[in-house]
Symmetry: C3
Subunit: 353 residues, 3 copies
């Protein structure tokens, strides 16, 4: 008999992080048409550009690109073992930009830099701000985003690192959008095939859209998605432990709600074919298996992209709820909170002009 | 604040259809080996031609073709947002012919023509007959079928379109079979590898086959399948709404039972490697998660294909049941109805001679 | 009306087997990147070599190989309809060697030889020993293993075949390891990307590793996995029948626990990138949906591979449990049995030196 091994990683705790620290994450991942198919089976997206090589080629892509959110979740998943294995809560995202289209066969890896640290007053936890970048096999950045997360301390008495809270933009500038979208032939964008007649010019700021439909989530669904992303956050997978935990059950990965809301948003935003940036996002209430997710969106702004006549950008706020249809556009912010709201997402989507 | 958007599609209601109307459906879809893998994970088919590139090549295919039913469901799924989003019931199929083999990498789209309309006497609903065609990237028809569906009216007082009920063949003629099957080398069809020693000549009309096994359906299974097909019919996905609906729960897509029955039928029809045509099909009772599906088949007829010595066609009637083994061949038609029967399918399958 | 068909296979019973009998199994299967994606979605493995074409190429593979266990389950699945359709229990594995790497696009088939037979004293069942080999499209053996299984007799009064119990090695010799692993460039094995800093030289015999995490199994998960392998064992799929059976519910395929334990073992054995051989394995208790699987491992031995300076082999014993964390390394053997133990697996894993 010998002593237990020290080979197991317990993840980083708050006091393990240092400002400016660079973390190269495991595990590199070749994204395949198989991953795309599993993603499609889990969320049922219907955006034509990602669904059809023929449609994508006709407008100027070399082939159908991988769904933006599958890229996001894959890169995000890599950061979990180092950043958020001991997280209490994933607090928010900012300045997330999709910089290069990803195609089946590309291999993604991720690197994060710690850009902010702030101990909480209870000294039990602290907030870690990281800027994470996803790279392809050529070392080109495909995705760049900031997230902040509340992480437990291993030892409450440990000294806190120097406090620094980064200055984060409220939204991505229109001039910084579009890197992951080639110049497209907007005339060749066949709106009968794409499933919606509405182009960039047909939307106006302030417009609200109820996406009508709902999708019920099963335990098998969200676990399969999260395993596909190689996301190892324990709270999603382990009913034995979670049955004694905070919620009494497995918590669904926040990104699952984002993907469901995006799929639902096809009904109303069918030509918003590319997420160019995520300005911010908050998971305002937990989602569990058995819940039915609904969503609605509001167009916050419209922007032309400097030098591009092919596409325009809609700034969209999408709200997702659980077990609550969205015909009356529920929100959760200050007065009039609706406890059914689970997601408040602010992003830029590109549409053909 | 601004008014709600009109960007959301509510689907077509009975009074929206016109005889002769042509509808080009969204969303084109490139079918990949990933889609095939998800399909295999959901149904477990074991027909050698679709399972092995090597087996397929040996008998004369360029590679393993995509399962016929995955092609069917994909094309069918495209028609849902335009044809059956407001359907009360999917009433039947006829004259469904598989005209060209589909391979991974092919891109499918669909077009439907309204070929019949008949308002029901209650004036609340009407029956819509559509002929739907699936096309590949070269514009070649791969699938052609008729289905009819009962659709709600938006407004009960709306004038009904002129009534027309199309004349539909009871079955596809043998001379019209085989377009999707290249001339094969029947001698190279290795029956040890294919899993059944029985060829076309070994079956006789009237023969009944109990497929013995049963497969229990989970909510996660049928939703994943139906999302994979980009089928948006609401009743399959939304437990919140359906809990207050007709059944109190999500209804499983009828095609799910067809695929399960087909997979089960391998045990007894292992060399019936290709569905050349579906003569007719009725979903005679609803299927829900938790049910176990069983199936049996009867050979209705045998037919040689004009000019082809390589394959013969069996006309097969396959009955599927829920929570009821089929050793005594239950049916549901007129006297002696068995409420456990869920599917009554009549199709032509090709077998090597 | 005609008599029931004899086309259905009831599988082989104990008295159907003959010593030396060779069985070519159906159905050949082309393994695709889609299969890999479904497997990843079901188990979430994170070993870099199988996850990234770029990582694999950098160390000397032509591309990312298919996960060893997906190869194992695929070959195993083919043997089920002929060997274990009427099995009472899968008793064990021995001398399992992975002989050639499998890549997406390869086509697998399987052949078994009956190498042992022993009727049980109750005369109702007997033990069948088979040596099964998986072949690729070129007829090269990729996998070779022995398993033994308790099979029902069709007729208790049937004469038993002559008894023969094969002599099986307790473990595979180090000299017989590594056929499926090309000579790698161990220096190019980037341990930041692979997710663990520990190489072959960092492990010592006797070392115990708690893999910490747990994964809860759903019915949809294990059925999808087992259908993906085209494994037709009835007890996994049919709740209607099993509700009246031995356990009152569907029994999960034993290989499911092996794959879960392997994925969990990444935390502690992150660079054990290839299973070169399985010395033995026993499913010591049944696993059902709803259970959470945990695992721990002990390094039984370390071995250099003759003539190879690139990789070394760890002999690892991995124990998996249900609903029981493994911090105190539970076992089930003789005194001190722990009923939570479900799997006791002994294998050789290769690691970079």
């Amino acid at each position: 008999m010998s002593a237990p091994s020290d080979k197991t990683s317990a993840g980083n705790f708050f006091e393990d992080f240092r400002l400016g620290q660079q973390i190269r994450h495991a595990t590199p991942r070749t994204v395949t048409s198989g991953d795309v198919a599993v993603y499609n089976g889990l969320f049922g997206p219907r955006f034509a550009v990602q669904s059809s090589d023929v449609f994508a080629r006709k407008i100027g892509y070399p082939r159908a690109p991988v769904d933006d959110l599958l890229v996001f979740h894959t890169v995000f998943g890599k950061t979990v073992p180092d950043i958020s294995l001991n997280a209490v809560a994933n607090l928010g995202y900012a300045n997330c930009r999709f910089l290069k289209a990803v195609y089946p066969g590309d291999t993604l890896n991720a690197v994060s830099e710690v850009i902010g640290l702030k101990e909480n007053s209870n000294r039990k936890t602290g907030i870690v701000y990281v800027r994470s970048r996803g790279y392809d096999q050529d070392g080109v950045v495909v995705l760049d985003y900031v997230r902040w997360v509340m992480v437990r301390k291993r030892d409450e008495t440990a000294a806190a690192p120097e406090e620094h809270v980064p200055d984060l933009p409220k939204s991505v500038e229109p001039a910084d959008l579009g890197g992951a979208c080639p110049i497209i032939n907007a005339e060749a964008f066949d709106t009968a095939l794409s499933g919606s007649p509405y182009r960039f010019g047909d939307y106006k700021a302030g417009e609200k859209i109820d996406h009508v439909d709902g999708i019920t989530v099963e335990e098998a669904d969200h676990m399969m998605a999260t395993r596909l992303y190689q996301n190892t956050a324990r709270i999603h997978f382990n009913q034995f432990t979670e049955s004694k935990g905070r919620f009494g059950r497995r918590l669904i990965y926040g990104g699952h709600a984002i993907s469901l809301a995006r799929s639902l948003s096809f009904n109303g935003l069918g030509n918003a074919f590319h997420i160019a940036a995520i300005n911010g996002g908050r998971h305002v209430a937990p989602l569990f298996a058995g819940h039915t997710v609904f969503a609605w969106s509001q167009v916050l702004a419209r922007a032309e992209l400097p030098g591009r006549a092919d596409v325009g950008a809609l700034r969209v706020r999408t709200i997702a709820t659980k077990d609550r249809p969205c015909a009356d556009f529920p929100i959760k912010s200050g007065d009039g909170d609706d406890p059914a709201v689970i997601l408040d997402l602010d992003y830029w989507a590109l549409m053909p002009r």
